[in-house]
């Protein structure tokens, strides 16, 4: 860029600049006829129109992804971003297996449009453990207590619990049961699940107070 300061220098187009220019001119001339006069109308008449490409904040990473208008967050996480820890059980906001945190609050990701999470912080079960592999205290407790049988519902329970503990870090067993009442377990292992998650609450307090 030193030649900018040199009054003697003049602009000599490189081969690359020439090719770019030809492509741009071609694009303009070939699309112009498609829109005729309507291009201004099309843009002016659509407040709130949506672009398919968006950047999602997932587990602290910025993920650029092409999302269909009708796509739910669960679909995007599992099939576009490969985060298959989030499970799809019912796809009807009934079972809770797809629970994720959106801005630290548990939501059913099967029942949220991905486009409505723009600018929000999404956390899935993959984002619970530390980067060094240390498990989240709630995960650690589930391992210790062998809280689940088949564990298909587990990541949903984990996310619901982690979200609930952010609002009530010291719950009674009854309160925690109510807090995770939006999650179902087909193995019907609720008692052991609740015991392990109560232990998770205890370990979380120890970690936070340490």
């Amino acid at each position: 860029m030193s030649d900018e300061h040199d009054p003697q220098s003049k602009y000599v187009p490189t081969r690359r600049d020439l090719i770019k220019g030809v492509i741009a001119a071609g694009a303009v001339s070939s699309t112009g006829y498609l829109f005729r006069g309507s291009i201004t109308r099309a843009f002016a008449a659509a407040p709130g129109s949506v672009e398919r490409m968006l950047t999602l904040d997932v587990n602290g990473q910025q993920r650029r992804v092409d999302v269909m208008k009708q796509e739910t967050l669960a679909m995007t996480l599992r099939y576009k971003l490969g985060l298959t820890g989030t499970k799809l059980g019912c796809d009807r906001a009934e079972c809770g297996a797809c629970s994720v945190l959106i801005d630290d609050v548990p939501h059913y990701s099967c029942s949220v449009l991905t486009h409505s999470t723009r600018g929000k912080k999404i956390q899935t079960v993959e984002g619970l453990a530390s980067p060094d592999g240390t498990l989240h205290p709630v995960q650690q407790a589930v391992v210790e207590q062998q809280g689940f049988q088949c564990a298909f519902c587990m990541s949903g329970f984990l996310m619901a619990t982690v979200g609930f503990l952010k609002t009530n870090p010291n719950p009674t067993r009854q309160e925690l049961a109510h807090g995770i009442s939006g999650n179902l377990c087909r193995c019907q292992d609720y008692d052991k699940i609740l015991t392990s998650l109560m232990r998770g609450a205890e370990l979380s307090r120890e970690v936070n107070n340490a």
């Binding site: 008449a45 659509a46 407040p47 709130g48 129109s49 949506v50 269909m68 208008k69 009708q70 796509e71 739910t72 679909m75 799809l88 019912c90 796809d91 009807r92 906001a93 009934e94 809770g96 629970s99 609050v105 548990p106 939501h107 059913y108 099967c110 029942s111 949220v112 449009l113 486009h115 409505s116 723009r118 619901a160 609930f164 109510h178 807090g179 995770i180 009442s181 939006g182 999650n183």
Partner: protein
Amino acid sequence: MAVFRDVMPAFELFQPTSASDAVTLLAEHGSDAWVMAGGQDSFDWLKDRIKRPKVVVDLSQVSGMSGVRDLDGGVEIGAMTTLTTLVGDPLIRERFPILSEAAGVVASPQIRNQGTIGGNISQDTRCWYYRGGMPCYRAGGNVCYADTPTAINREHAILGADRCVAVSPSDTAPALVALDAKIVIQGPSGERVVDAEDYFIGPGIDITRMHVLKPGELLVAIRIPATWAGTDYYFEKVRDRPVWDFPLVNIAAVKVVNGGTIERIRIVLNGVAAHPWRLAQVENAVTGKPADESTAAMAGEMSIEGAFPLRHNGYKVPLMRNLVKRAIRGVQEA
């Protein structure tokens, strides 16, 4: 009808950032447009392919449509305020705890985190014949599948049925009618405000809709006047499971009792008819009477006059009577 069928069919999505932009979009697309607030009712319809709107107007990015603020001793609630917010909001808890309680028993924690007050009172009925895509009266056909000798109609209406026997499933709606709330609606021709009691309509008025919103109109806020702030109240929801279920019957009552005498009262039930069922005659009859067992018994009997149960929902009649009794005299602590 929960059949897993991959992603929903395509629709055009708009995410306006202001209520006026949303109204413009709705005016432009008319009956092609579907308004989505929290989406917890919408997704069932869209995923099951029963309703196939060309355009979805998602309100999630609209600013200034959520939150609770003071309004002359009452409150104004943005239509996009989540149910979880209402459960915890200090102003609501102090002035209208009946609404916090009602919002707190809706569905599950995740749904309350996503679902909005505007959506909760505007949701469609849960009649499974209708939701399963049967061409019934409500869907524009000419038969009711829930009112036949072999129909399964345990959750259906005992009052106010007119061809359609579906009921309103909302928990917050009866509380808002009891509190004499006003519904603020924006449309192409400006703003209009209707009483909550008139917002909900039965099949006799329009069999295809549960409320007075016309295509192109948007519910933007709910105003609760100070009339019933801080008064006594009674709310109870009866359902099959202690959590995560729609009501079989629920009751919301606000009352002022002075020296044992009922000075003023409003009693509203839901789950018994296509709209929240206000007991205006019972209210008149018990005003000025002692809040005791005999008044409660009289009110209970009055409330079920004209009830017409179907084959499987006869239990709703004594259930309604007993809930009314409890609302009047309260429940003895064990």
